[in-house]
Structure formats: C-alpha cells, structure tokens
C-alpha cells in the first residue's frame, strides 16, 4: 500500500473509532433524581388471647381422698409479638378475695420465652408467666386449673384474668 493510501486508511480508521466512541457516549446518557426517605420502627408489644370465656366446675370428688377433684381447661391460646428487648408476660386477676384456688400453666411455649411452671392467682400483684421475650413472636397453650377444699364449701367466683406484655 502506498504511503498516501496508508495515511488515508489510518485517518478513516481513526474517524470510525471516534464515531464509535461518540456513539457509546451517547448511549450512556442518563438522568437521575433522588428522594430522601425517613424510616423508623417503634417499639411495639402486642398480645392476644384466643379461647373465649372459660367455665370451670368442680363437681367430682376423689374416691381415695374424698376431696373435690380439680377442674381443668386447656382450650385457650396466648399469642404475642414484641420487637423490644427482655420483655415478659405477666398474668393477674381482678378477684382479690377468691376462696377457691385458680392456677395457670403456660404449655407448649413456642420460639423464645421461658415459662414459669405454674402461677397461682390470688389477687396480689401480677405474676410472671413467661420471661425472656425478646424480638420475637410466639404462642403457648394456657391451662387453667381450679381447685377447692371441702372446707371451702360451695359457691361461684368470677375472675377477669389479664395478660400483659411488659418490661422484664
């Protein structure tokens, strides 16, 4: 190839290369817009009881001790969710002068949380039922046990049982 022809070819190649580069630059064009978002999650504690009203009737007597047999009900389910740290679930009754014994057991506690073996409701301050609830949701079965001595006679008592998720 003659030198003049070589120069022409080189210039042409350079032009094509420049054109390709310009095309690439053109294709890379873009436009942007930004938005500022403010995100937050507040501490929340949710608790719910499924099972409705419970009716416990002590109407059987032990043949060996001649004492009334306890009445039980395990048809309630307690559910909770907390995104806080070191929460606990307490239980309390509004009946401060109960004659008959009412005990509560939290069974089959799922996920986090450890349950007390048994809580006796006697109208005092709220009792710890489930401890060490942190950043979790969970559930358990609530078992109520009502008991009475023969010496306590007969009667009817009402309890409004309140479950509270609170600081541990």
């Amino acid at each position: 190839m003659k030198p003049k022809t070589q120069n022409m070819a080189r210039n042409l190649a350079g032009s094509i290369l420049l054109l390709v580069n310009l095309t690439s630059f053109s294709n890379a064009q873009m436009s942007s817009a930004t938005q500022i978002l403010t995100l937050s999650v507040k501490e929340l504690n949710a608790i719910d009881l499924v099972g409705g009203e419970i009716d416990l009737q002590i109407n059987r007597v032990s043949e060996t001790t001649n004492q009334p047999l306890p009445a039980e009900n395990a048809g309630s389910r307690l559910l909770w969710t907390s995104n806080g740290e070191n929460r606990k679930i307490t239980v309390a009754t509004n009946n401060t002068a109960a004659r008959f014994s009412l005990r509560i057991i939290a069974k089959n506690v799922s996920t986090s949380g450890s349950s007390a073996t048994e809580v006796i409701l006697n109208g005092d301050a709220p009792k710890d039922l489930i401890r060490s609830v942190s950043r979790s949701s969970g559930s358990c079965t609530i078992k109520y046990i009502a008991a009475a001595d023969v010496s306590e006679g007969t009667g009817t008592e009402h309890h409004l049982v309140t479950y509270t998720i609170t600081g541990g």
């Binding site: 873009m30 938005q35 995100l39 937050s40 907390s82």
Partner: protein
C-alpha cells in the same frame, strides 16, 4: 393621438417591469437542525416518614406502612428501550424491607419491587420499555415493613435514586 398614448403607456409598463426584475435579489442559508438525546427525570419531592407502629400478636411480620404522596415525571427521545432503575445509597439492615412501585403509561411497570438490597451501582429495574415522549405526574409508592425479630429502628435516612437510562 390615441395610438401615441397607448404607446407611451406600454413603454412605461415595460420600463417598470424591467426595473422590478432588476430589484429582485436572493440569498441562501443552510440551516442545520439537530435534536440531541434528551433524558430527564424528576420527582415531586420527598415522601413522608415511614414508621412502623403496630403488629399482630403471634406474627413476626409487623404491619407495613405505605406512602404514595409523591410523583415522578420523565421526558426522553432516545427510543423505546429506555428504563428506570432504582437504588438505595446503602442496603437496608436484615429484617427490614423497602419496596417501590412506579406507575407508568409510557412503559411497563415492574410492579412492587424490593429495593432493600440495592446500593449505588446495583439498581433494579422498576419501569422498562419506556417509549419516546413524556410521562408526567406518575405515582411513586413506597412500602416499608419490618420483622419483630429485627427489633426497633431509630429514625434512619435513606436516599433513593431513580435513574432514567437505556
């Protein structure tokens, strides 16, 4: 006499026509027109604070919150392959989810897209196949959700970038 008047009139008319012809002049200009590629995207402002405040007992996923108070507008003349991508300035912590939905009438919205794990340089497409023209005042919907197991989140600022590109 009449012939003389007619002759004079004819002569005058010819003179006027010749003068008129010599008065004409023209000039040419070459006008080059070009339209460069235009990409423009803008938003109407910032959305309100997204704060998770409630949940359902027994469920780890807390109740999500949404904001659809802002809009975006675009103009582009590049072609039918233009898209909008979205990214955060930095990924969200695990257990928190930020979703984005852009409405579109010039393109195909990807629907509700999770942008929690995006960051600068790793955006996800939220609208594709945008045709040439303008699309104004289209809604932007953010949805923020969290797991109880992720704990609380103190007020955190995140920057969302919407990019119109091909």
């Amino acid at each position: 006499m009449k012939k003389s008047i007619f002759g004079i009139t004819l002569l005058a008319a010819c003179v006027l026509m010749i003068n008129g012809a010599y008065a004409q002049a023209s000039a040419n200009q070459t006008v080059n027109l070009s339209v460069n590629t235009v990409y423009k995207i803008a938003t109407s402002g910032n959305p309100g604070a997204l704060t998770v405040t409630t949940g359902t007992a027994g469920t780890d996923a807390l109740t999500s919150v949404s904001d659809a108070s802002t809009t975006y507008s675009i103009t582009q003349n590049f072609g039918p392959t233009v898209k909008i991508t979205a990214n955060l300035d930095a990924v969200l912590q695990s257990g928190y989810t930020l979703q984005l939905n852009l409405a579109s009438s010039k393109g195909t919205s990807a629907g509700t897209v999770d942008i929690s794990n995006t960051s600068t340089g790793s955006g996800v497409s939220v609208v594709t196949g945008i045709g040439m023209g303008a699309d104004a005042g289209k809604s932007i919907t953010y949805t923020f959700s969290a797991l109880a197991s992720a704990g609380t989140l103190t007020s955190t600022t995140k920057t969302v970038t919407l990019t119109l590109t091909n």
